[in-house]
């Protein structure tokens, strides 16, 4: 039987929303306070949803220890307490939570071997959230 397992993680990072192709004034118009040149930070909540058949021997879609290990090593260690603008994945890509969400989905999709990745959901603050399922429709 197919089930969907979601685990929630947290990390903190800073970013500045700025597009080199726009003028200084346009950047301020589009990004508002988020264009502050010194950057600002968030406590990001990250939800990873994996899916697959529930293994009859373990009762699991995948072992949580494997998912936790992968997420810690490849996502929390990589983005936690970093300035996202300084990272190679955000050179020429504005580190909005949309782009961060897609980047994290791709890391999981490429590297996590123990279950299929259904979607990634991120909360930038308690008032906004973003979801990406590799271009598929989100199932609710």
């Amino acid at each position: 039987m197919k089930a969907y397992l979601t685990k929630r993680y947290w990390f903190s990072a800073s970013h500045r929303l700025h597009c080199d192709a726009l003028s200084a004034e346009e950047n301020r118009d589009v990004y508002g306070k988020c264009n502050n040149p010194h950057g600002h930070g968030h406590n990001y909540a990250l939800e990873v949803t994996v899916t697959g058949q529930v293994d009859s021997k373990t009762g699991m879609v995948c072992n949580l220890a494997d998912l936790d290990g992968f997420v810690h090593e490849n996502i929390l260690e990589r983005f936690g307490h970093e300035n996202l603008n300084t990272l190679p994945e955000f050179q020429g890509v504005v580190p909005t939570t949309e782009n961060l969400c897609m980047e994290i989905y791709d890391i999981l999709e490429r590297g996590f071997q123990h279950a299929a990745i259904e979607k990634v959901r991120m909360e930038e603050t308690m008032l906004n959230s973003f979801e990406y399922a590799g271009g598929r429709e989100i199932r609710n």
């Binding site: 039987m1 197919k2 089930a3 969907y4 397992l5 979601t6 685990k7 929630r8 993680y9 949803t49 529930v54 021997k57 373990t58 009762g59 699991m60 879609v61 072992n63 949580l64 220890a65 199932r139 609710n140």
Partner: protein, 136 residues
């Protein structure tokens, strides 16, 4: 079509163990969850049903009726229980969150004639939950 979700809470204990595995395998695969004396969680159950809104009542489902069915069929069976020992479905099957969600679906599905069951979501902790949509 409108979707309606009702929550309930229950507290229960469980442990993970497969008698087909060696003690070392059980320890390696299940870690701390293999402690045979069990450990507990405050679970949150979300039952989502879907249907057309009745023109006269304005309801998808009578929430009082849904609440009674959830209490009778699920909460009474699992609340303040040691799942492995006291719930027949988990004598053989490991009471993981995945299996809890599937089991609760099979309990509720035949009893819910008031609306169509859409999703069972079981939170083991606020940071870990499983969704089941009745898929094979």
């Amino acid at each position: 079509m409108v979707y309606l979700t009702r929550k309930a809470e229950f507290s229960a204990s469980h442990f993970y163990h497969n008698p087909e595995f060696t003690p070392e395998e059980n320890k390696r695969i299940f870690g701390k969850c293999n402690n045979p004396h069990g450990h507990g969680h405050n679970y949150t159950l979300e039952v989502t049903v879907k249907g057309q809104v009745d023109q006269r009542s304005g309801f998808v489902v009578d929430l009082k009726e849904l609440k009674e069915i959830m209490n009778r069929e699920v909460i009474e069976a699992v609340d303040h229980r040691f799942l492995n020992k006291e719930v027949a479905e988990f004598h053989e099957r490991i009471p993981t969150t995945e299996n809890l969600a599937i089991t609760i679906w099979t309990w509720l599905k035949p009893k819910l004639n008031v609306a169509q069951l859409h999703r069972i979501r079981v939170y083991e902790t606020p940071d870990l939950f499983v969704d089941y949509y009745g898929e094979a």
